[in-house]
């Protein structure tokens, strides 16, 4: 195995890289174990909500954290995934949930291509405004389209049987399915970020003119990143619809695009675990506030967190922890 092979690079560097990789793998393993045990410690429906939003935030973070593009229209993908899956599963009872989810994800990916081609033409602040405006267009289309149920949304979407065999009506079975989807999405993002493709994305984020001068077609790279991000956001929306058996306009509203930005910012932009943590905190906060006398103040409190994050907490929780760790232990 690996130990017996001769070392070609300076051994200390290889050794350190190996150790880092090993640590990372152990960490992910621990995370998976926590995920597997979690439904016995906490309410599965709540955990599923966290996982869906965490996947959504991870997808968003791929774009903001690794390509440096601030999309203000990601709600459109979440909602498209959700509506398509919801509509298909509700109208064709024979359809199994995984096929519904795949269809929703594919349509969100396609929409991502359209969004991407249009918005990549503008940068920075304009990019944010363009994505927001196109997402608003999608929102109005969902309001008027005959299949979305307008203001009421889609209700009673059946969870069905996974592969036609495993019933998802129990929350525990549903949880493990959602967890598997999350792991798939997370692994895909992790793989993308650590691939040569991901390195080029980072180069574009740091200095786009230089990446261009090195011969990279930066628009193509940004477009691919945008499409992957849109597809995974759609996957999150599709999964969410199956879990909660409904799809509504809330998911398409620009508030949702703002929420996913907040989750990513709070957890740590450009960190792999930040979005997961941010989603966990925001969803828990909404859950707790909804039952407290402060229930009506959710949006104000989110706004305050936004302002505090931007003013004094820009690396997010994971980012700040990482900084502290580096300062004290390295």
């Amino acid at each position: 195995m690996a130990e017996s092979q001769p070392m070609t690079a300076p051994s200390a560097v290889v050794e350190r890289q190996k150790r880092a990789k090993f640590r990372r793998n152990m960490f992910y393993l621990a995370l998976i174990v926590v995920g597997l045990v979690a439904p016995f410690l906490a309410y599965p429906v709540f955990l599923m909500k966290v996982l869906c939003f965490a996947l959504f935030a991870c997808a968003f973070n791929l774009l903001l954290g690794y390509a440096g593009l601030l999309s203000f229209g990601h709600a459109a993908f979440l909602a498209t995934g959700g509506y398509v899956t919801g509509y298909l599963l509700a109208s064709y009872p024979g359809l199994t949930p995984e096929l519904g989810i795949i269809a929703g994800t594919l349509l969100a990916t396609l929409l991502g291509v359209v969004f991407g081609v249009l918005s990549i033409r503008r940068q920075g602040i304009y990019f944010a405004m363009v994505t927001l405006a196109i997402a608003q267009l999608v929102y109005f289309m969902f309001v008027q389209a005959p299949f979305t149920g307008g203001e009421d949304g889609l209700h009673g979407v059946p969870r069905g049987e996974l592969f036609g065999v495993i019933s998802l009506s129990s929350n525990l079975a549903m949880y493990y399915f959602v967890f598997a989807i999350f792991i798939f999405g997370f692994a895909l993002i992790q793989r993308t970020v650590h691939s040569p493709f991901g390195q080029v994305l980072k180069a574009i984020r740091e200095n786009e003119p230089r990446a261009v001068s090195l011969g990279y077609n930066t628009d193509a790279y940004k477009l691919v990143a945008f499409v992957i991000s849109a597809g995974l956001a759609g996957l999150a929306g599709s999964t969410k619809t199956v879990v909660f058996q409904l799809a509504s306009l809330t998911d398409a509203h620009w508030h949702m695009s703002g929420e996913v930005i907040l989750m990513t910012l709070l957890g740590g932009v450009g960190t792999l675990l930040g979005p997961l943590m941010g989603a966990g905190i925001v969803v828990s906060l909404q859950h707790i506030l909804a039952q407290s006398p402060l229930g009506n103040w959710v949006s104000v409190i989110l706004g305050i967190i936004f302002v505090v994050c931007v003013l004094s907490f820009r690396s997010g929780i994971i980012g700040e922890l990482d900084k502290m760790y580096r300062k004290n232990f390295k």
Binding site: R121, I125, M129, A133, I134, Q136, G303, I304
Partner: protein, 295 residues
């Protein structure tokens, strides 16, 4: 009865003026965004909320202090503008040296706070603000009936746009502002107090939004969410026009209002979306915007 493309003249002209009035608001708001963007390089996401604050200030001022419409038209922009000055001085300035996307995020957070707070006190249904006595009724132009207040809004908004244009293009202060937009460091080296200029510019942009809010109060229901949906349309208008020129912002705003109005006549289903569709077309054929400068 006279018909235009199969639509009665009165309906056609009615929607055209409605569109023009909406366009006047787009123009005022995108103008404010452009002025702020020019010097601060941030997109003021709180612009819609500040427009809404203007309308609310007029409403509450009338309800509790008996401030009439004319006084409100003068006072509210000052008060809300002063509030904007505080926001710039104590919040935006602290992140001015960072990536400008942070400015967008900060102002977005502020917009959530303003909107959410007012929703808690006033709900989302919206209140009526009485049209001032003098503008009750309308003018009979022969081919259509024009409500006086709409005519006034059009005049006032255009006058304010021209005033802004004059201030920026024809006065010494405006020259400083334009120079600061080009190169603020050089300006500072010449001894101009750039931080003060930035603060005042933000305050002025906010005051413009508040002015639009007071104008809008008798026209639309005054509700905490009145600004946010409007702002997204204004963003599209800004993308269409590009933030390069003052006149560009005004012309694009009015033109988009008219296009929206005419869509209501001929294809009402698309009235909400037509401006976004125009934006997509512009992005495909002229990505920098109609009046934008090549980067």
């Amino acid at each position: 009865m006279m018909m235009i493309f199969g639509v009665p003249m009165a309906v056609f002209m009615g929607q055209l003026t409605l569109g023009l009035v909406n366009g006047a608001f787009y123009a005022l708001l995108s103008l404010g965004l452009a002025v702020i963007f020019g010097l601060l390089k941030i997109v003021n996401f709180a612009h819609g909320a500040q427009y809404m604050l203007g309308a609310f200030a007029a409403l509450l001022g009338f309800r509790y202090l008996g401030i009439n419409y004319w006084l409100a038209l003068f006072l509210v922009p000052l008060v809300v503008g002063a509030f904007g000055v505080l926001l710039e001085r104590f919040l935006l300035r602290r992140i001015a040296h960072l990536d400008h996307l942070y400015g967008l995020l900060l102002t977005f957070g502020l917009a959530l706070i303003f909107e959410g707070t007012l929703v808690n006190f006033f709900g989302v249904s919206g209140a009526r603000y009485a049209t001032p006595e003098i503008f009750q009724g309308g003018l009979n132009l022969g081919f259509m009936f024009l409500p006086t207040y709409r005519a006034w809004v059009l005049v006032a908004a255009l006058a304010m746009c021209l005033f802004t244009w004059f201030m920026i293009e024809r006065t010494r202060l405006g020259a400083y502002l334009r120079a600061g937009t080009e190169n603020s460091q050089l300006m500072q080296a010449f001894g101009v107090n750039v931080p003060l200029l930035i603060t005042l510019t933000y305050g002025f942009g906010v005051a413009l939004a508040a002015f639009a809010g007071v104008l809008a109060a008798p026209l639309y229901p005054v509700s905490p969410t009145m600004g946010s949906s409007l702002l997204i349309v204004v963003f599209a208008v800004v993308v269409i026009g590009g933030m390069g020129s003052i006149l560009g912002a005004i012309i694009t705003g009015l033109a988009m209002g008219i296009i929206e109005g005419l869509t209501k006549v001929y294809y009402p289903e698309a009235a909400n979306t037509v401006i976004f569709l125009v934006m997509i077309l512009v992005l495909m054929f002229r990505p920098v915007g109609l009046f934008g400068k090549e980067a």
